[in-house]
């Protein structure tokens, strides 16, 4: 599993689920595509309109803290985000990402390097890549290792998400 994409740089720590996906929409039945229209709207109003398939979010610590709302993961996935690299993830957001099969990686070092070099990414041409097979993130001239995904998480992920994983479990 490999990804290469333009980094969306959200340099803050503690970006919470209320700004990723506002509370006022959480009980409205929306399709994933409709959820994507509200992605990050209280943090970066340009995101939903300009995010492209294959983009990679690069952000600080404790990304996704706050509510359990799964829409926070789904809206990003359907906005085109293929992978999120963060200093760290909040627990529930991490679980929801695995369950929705959205690849997530923690590496404060990689994230800091992107932040330090943000002007180099301003044109939108420069990409970063995340390789889950070799466990490396490649940013400009440097590579950053990351540990393999937990076995259990990997099982769910490989099944395509928790719905598929549970279905398989029930069939057996």
């Amino acid at each position: 599993m490999k990804f290469a994409g333009k980094p969306w740089i959200f340099e803050d720590d503690d970006i919470n689920t209320d700004v990723i996906f506002p509370g006022k929409h959480t009980y409205t039945p929306l399709t994933p595509e409709q959820m994507a229209e509200h992605a990050m709207e209280d943090y970066d109003p340009s995101f939903a309109k300009t995010a492209r398939k294959g983009d990679i979010i690069v952000t600080g610590k404790n990304f996704g803290c706050g509510s359990s709302r799964e829409q926070a993961v789904i809206c990003l996935k359907y906005a085109g985000i293929d992978c999120i690299v963060a200093g760290s993830f909040a627990r529930l957001f991490f679980r929801n990402s695995i369950n929705s099969a959205l690849p997530v990686v923690e590496s404060q070092e990689a994230v800091d390097y992107v932040f330090e070099n943000r002007e180099k990414f301003a044109s939108g041409e420069e990409k970063i890549s995340v390789d889950f097979d070799s466990g490396t993130i490649t940013i400009l001239d440097r590579t950053f290792p990351f540990p393999p995904m937990d076995e259990q998480a990997l099982e769910i992920f490989s099944a395509g998400g928790l719905v598929e994983y549970t279905r398989k479990k029930l069939e057996n």
Binding site: D13, D14, N16, D18, V19, P22, G23, K24, T26, Y27, T28, P29, E41, D42, K61, N62, C65, G66, S67, S68, R69, E70, S88, A90, R91, L92, R95, N96, N99, S100, D150, E151, Q152, G161, L162, V163, Y165, T166, R167, K169, L170
Partner: protein, 417 residues
């Protein structure tokens, strides 16, 4: 080697003799809690199992609380889908709108059993650690999966022991204690951990106060926040005729992290916009005008919280708007009998149906651009109360919120003349 509380509870819930930190287990809960999100979850559930019956209809708990009463057709339809699901699946423990906020109704109706796992697709499921259980939040899809197969995976977390020493000064309550703790530990300070609260201040705390501190364990990133069961727990559970095992941490239990604090000098605290760990004593705030005061929610919507606020509000009319959201119908009825609702109404308060309402901007009590609020809720993220251009939400205790409503600016209750 001794085991701590989460290790013991997870061992029990996974049918194992013992578990170790870092191990992945499959835990079966005593209850799985969902609310207005049950409609969406039932659709995911259907995707997983089609028409199959749930694993155990008696262990499913649903309470409608987030958009109650439904403000528009979409929400009303949402509720209808849930009622249909409840009927079809024979779910006994369904509490329709008006019964109260899920995290208040669950313990009130005798569903929290010490020593067990309580799953909930709501981040404040941690509240149920107040009764010596492990209240563990999960996501919607996971809730559907638990409905189907009755369990889900958990990594046995590291534990943090928080010992609260000293004794609280007059007027200082559980909310001030937990805000001080979060300010010290930070919003990610207990990330992925199970938190255990110990110490004389906790021992003397009511179950309601313990609910407040366990509720807000979620704001430190914790997987669970628990107070080991004791006499206070036993007393509270007496009326339920519940059979339970008083699961306790061993005296030689190991904790990967320990925090000790003394709250003898603790002043009223406030969490400033826009983060829950942005905590300072109220006395350190510059003059801060407010437009709205919110009293209630799962964090501080219980009878003791309403009493705390009413004793401050009595005889006053508020300068700011005051919204009162009791956490449940039972709380509201008790408050009514004690004359507390009259105090809120005479103060000019807008007293509402027991529900979540303004806390998350889903329905009721939204802010307008440029407005400021002080609230007994548990989150103050930007735009939380429905308006992204609000100037900010300040979190505080019921007494601080009440005093601030009277003067129209954030003050300590003891400074109110």
């Amino acid at each position: 080697m001794g085991h701590n509380l989460i290790q013991k509870i997870l061992a029990k819930a996974s049918g194992k003799e013992e578990v170790i930190t870092g191990e992945i287990i499959f835990a079966s809960p005593h209850r799985i809690l969902t609310h207005d999100n049950s409609a969406a979850i039932s659709k995911t559930y259907a995707k997983i199992v089609g028409n199959r019956q749930v694993w155990d209809p008696d262990r499913i708990f649903i309470a409608l609380d987030h958009e109650v009463p439904p403000p528009h057709e979409k929400a009303a339809t949402n509720h209808q889908v849930i009622r249909d699901f409840v009927k079809k699946r024979g779910i006994k423990h369904f509490y329709d709108g008006g019964t109260g906020i899920c995290h208040q109704v669950l313990p009130e109706e005798g569903h929290v059993k010490p020593g067990t796992v309580i799953f909930g697709s709501d981040s404040h499921t941690t509240t149920h650690g107040s009764l010596g259980a492990a209240g563990i939040p999960i996501g919607r899809t996971e809730a559907a999966s638990v409905w189907a197969i009755g369990k889900t995976w958990l990594k046995v977390p590291e534990s943090m022991k928080i010992t609260v020493n000293g004794s609280l000064r007059e007027g200082i309550t559980a909310k001030d204690v937990i805000l001080a703790i979060i300010g010290k530990i930070s919003a990610s300070g207990a990330s992925y951990m199970a938190v255990e609260y110990h110490g004389p201040v906790i021992d003397h705390m009511t179950i309601g106060g313990r609910m407040t501190i366990c509720n807000m364990a979620a704001e430190m990133g914790a997987k669970a926040g628990m107070v080991p069961a004791d006499n206070v727990t036993e007393e509270w559970l007496k009326s339920f005729n519940m059979e339970y095992e008083k699961v306790l941490p061993d005296s030689d239990a190991v904790y990967e992290h320990e925090v000790v604090l003394d709250v003898s000098d603790l002043e009223p605290q406030v969490a400033r916009p826009h983060k829950v760990d942005n905590v300072v004593p109220v006395s350190q705030l510059p003059e801060t005008q407010i437009d709205v005061a919110l009293l209630g929610t799962c964090t501080n919507g219980r009878l003791e919280d309403l009493r705390e606020a009413a004793s401050v509000l009595k005889g006053h009319v508020t300068k700011s708007r005051l919204l009162v959201y009791p956490a449940s119908r039972k709380v509201m009825q008790a408050a009514s009998k004690e004359g507390l609702l009259d105090i809120f109404l005479e103060a000019g308060g807008q007293v509402a149906v027991p529900a979540c309402g303004p806390c998350l901007g889903a329905y009721g009590g939204c802010l307008a651009p440029g407005e400021t609020a002080v609230s007994t809720a548990n989150r103050n993220f930007k735009g939380r109360m429905g308006c992204k251009t609000d100037t900010g939400i300040y979190l505080a205790s019921p007494a601080t919120v009440a005093a601030s409503a009277v003067t129209g600016k954030i003050i300590k209750a003891e400074d109110l003349n």
